[in-house]
């Protein structure tokens, strides 16, 4: 009895060691309405994991809970073996879990290079140096330019983010996120609102960026999901409906009804 419990807990810890992010019983209620209900989620280290589901399923709310933008009503979140349920967004980010937003989130009045440099300052430790000239952050320019090059924005270095096209804004966001060298990257609909011509390059970019790190992404475009993702969790009405790889999930009758009967994407 005692031995079997010990064995069980040992296999469970072994499994958790493979998972960089584990959420248990995650619940968020807005004035009685549960946007996320008892969600269990385990994201394997080094994988690209997708969170899909119809509009209003609770995907963004899940992201907000995982990155501590929202406090969960119930449930625990463990990141890399550490319980982060009580930490703040900025603390979670400094531990290596960084998110992007569903609506594009650049700093419109700053140039592309400055956008990335702000993120680089997070680790560089100059954020409060108000008495120094910008020469103090000049050493960051090389890395900033490298990241811009990586996402194909080398030519837009000195253009303010407001003047960039939508696709380029999203690429800039990825560069800014990568600047923190996150171990886990959460991307909320990185291809939403994009024209066909931009979806391919962004998908390729995510694939590149995922090397050596874990990516959790919300995505409506199923062809993007099928090419990128190792594992898929389907949410509906705030609850997990199915989980598995693309072949398994797309054959699951409950998922088929949810997508056919639900809001057409």
């Amino acid at each position: 009895m005692a031995t079997s419990a010990a064995v069980l807990s040992r296999t469970e810890t072994a499994r958790d060691a493979d998972n960089v992010l584990v959420a248990k019983g995650l619940t968020k209620e807005f004035a009685g309405f549960a946007a996320v209900k008892d969600v269990n989620l385990a994201v394997r280290r080094g994988s690209i994991h997708a969170l899909i589901g119809p509009n209003g399923a609770g995907k963004t709310t899940c992201f907000n809970l995982l990155t501590k933008t929202l406090a969960p009503t119930r449930g625990s979140i463990v990141f890399d073996g550490e319980d982060i349920s009580r930490l703040r967004t900025s603390e979670v980010a400094r531990r290596g879990m960084v998110r992007s937003f569903q609506i594009s989130a650049t700093f419109p009045h700053l140039t592309a290079r400055e956008n990335v440099r702000v993120a680089l300052q997070s680790k560089y430790g100059t954020a409060y140096h108000f008495w120094r000239s910008l020469r103090a952050v000049a050493p960051l320019n090389a890395r900033a330019d490298e990241l811009l090059e990586q996402v194909g924005l080398a030519g837009s270095r000195d253009v303010t983010a407001a003047e960039l096209s939508y696709g380029k804004k999203r690429a800039l966001e990825i560069a800014t996120t990568l600047a923190l060298e996150p171990r886990v990257m959460l991307l909320d609909e990185p291809t939403a609102g994009m024209g066909h011509e931009d979806v391919g390059p962004i998908t390729e970019l995510i694939k590149q960026a995922a090397v050596g790190r874990t990516v959790l992404l919300v995505e409506h475009n199923l062809s993007v999901v099928s090419t990128l993702c190792d594992r898929i969790t389907v949410l509906q009405h705030g609850e997990v409906l199915a989980e598995g790889n693309y072949a398994e999930v797309s054959k699951n009758p409950a998922v088929v009804t949810a997508y056919m009967g639900g809001v057409d994407e």
Partner: protein, 324 residues
């Protein structure tokens, strides 16, 4: 190079100005230039609308005045003391309000400034309704006599230059870059591992200190400090100056402050008309010149440059592309 030349021209004009204009008016303009810069640091570069900025201006004036009246401490240190006191007040009020955003923040700062105003009204050292009178101008550095306005002018000019430099430095610092990012998108800055509330608090303290220095200087120039300095019309005036000059432009506050002070001076004899004209100006700026004087001018310069750039290459092969 052009900038250096421009700076030199401004310096020469500033040094020669008291020979052509009334020095007290010029000194008033400079006090409000600093005040407006401090306000622009908040509204233009941090995105915080403070409706009670006069509490720092008035606080600086009273503290500087009190130091000069009660002690033999030299004038420049007394002004610094006014700035430090205002900065401390900024720390406390900023700490209590920084969670709030937008109109909520504006309203809470207004409430706090009314509260501070009430304290100044009741506190014995301020002289209540009568104000603090006969503030002496203690010797600068303990040995330079500054009782004459023509000497004081250069002291005020030097302090103003220093404050504008500090303001410039903050805006163009590594911190300034993060500050602008907070203004543009606070949640994103937080998601990148910063603590935006702390970042904004630092800006609030710097801004309050600068406003305190401005108030302290005004107390030295006029040799009195009154409740008016801490009252909401002053808070309103600095908003007007900043908007008129151009929000989030570096030299906008300079033009805005000069414009409003000179206009007030000119209209002083017309009583209520000064207020009416301010209202009209605010309306015109909001409706037609959203970017303020400096904002509109630099937009015009940018437009002209762009037109030149697109015309220049088009001019040469004009014959070849005339088919268009």
């Amino acid at each position: 190079m052009v900038r250096l030349l421009l700076l030199a021209v401004v310096a020469v004009l500033a040094i020669a100005a008291p020979f052509y204009f009334y020095s007290v008016t010029l000194m008033t303009v400079m006090c409000f230039v600093i005040f407006a810069c401090s306000f622009n640091l908040l509204l233009g570069y941090t995105g915080l609308l403070c409706f009670g900025h006069a509490m720092f201006f008035g606080g600086g004036a009273y503290i500087t005045g009190q130091i000069l009246k009660a002690t033999p401490i030299s004038t420049e240190l007394a002004i610094l003391g006014g700035g430090a006191a205002a900065g401390l007040l900024g720390l406390v009020i900023g700490y209590l309000t920084m969670r709030r955003q937008g109109i909520q923040f504006a309203m809470i700062t207004l409430a706090f400034s009314q509260f501070i105003y009430f304290i100044f009204l009741q506190a014995p050292f301020t002289g209540g309704e009568d104000g603090m009178q006969a503030i002496p101008r203690n010797d600068l550095f303990g040995f330079v006599d500054i009782t004459s306005n023509s000497t004081l002018y250069y002291v005020v000019l030097a302090i103003t230059a220093l404050c504008v430099f500090v303001y410039y430095r903050v805006v163009h610092s590594p911190y300034g870059e993060v500050l602008k990012a907070v203004r543009d998108n606070q949640p994103r800055v937080e998601s990148l591992g910063f603590d935006p509330e702390k970042i904004k608090l630092v800006a609030f303290i710097i801004s309050a200190s600068m406003a305190g220095v401005a108030g302290g200087m005004k107390a030295v120039v006029y040799q009195f400090a009154t409740l008016t300095d801490a009252s909401w019309p002053i808070s309103g005036e600095v908003i007007l100056m900043t908007l008129l000059g151009g929000l989030g432009t570096l030299v906008g506050p300079v033009f805005g402050a000069a414009g409003i002070i000179l206009l007030n001076d000119y209209l002083a004899g017309f009583g209520e008309w000064a207020l009416v004209s301010q209202g009209v100006i605010l309306l015109v700026v909001i409706v037609f010149f959203r970017r303020g004087i400096v904002g509109e001018l630099s937009a015009l310069v940018r437009y002209l440059r762009r037109r030149n750039r697109t015309e220049a290459p088009a001019a040469q092969p004009a014959a070849a592309t005339s088919g268009h």
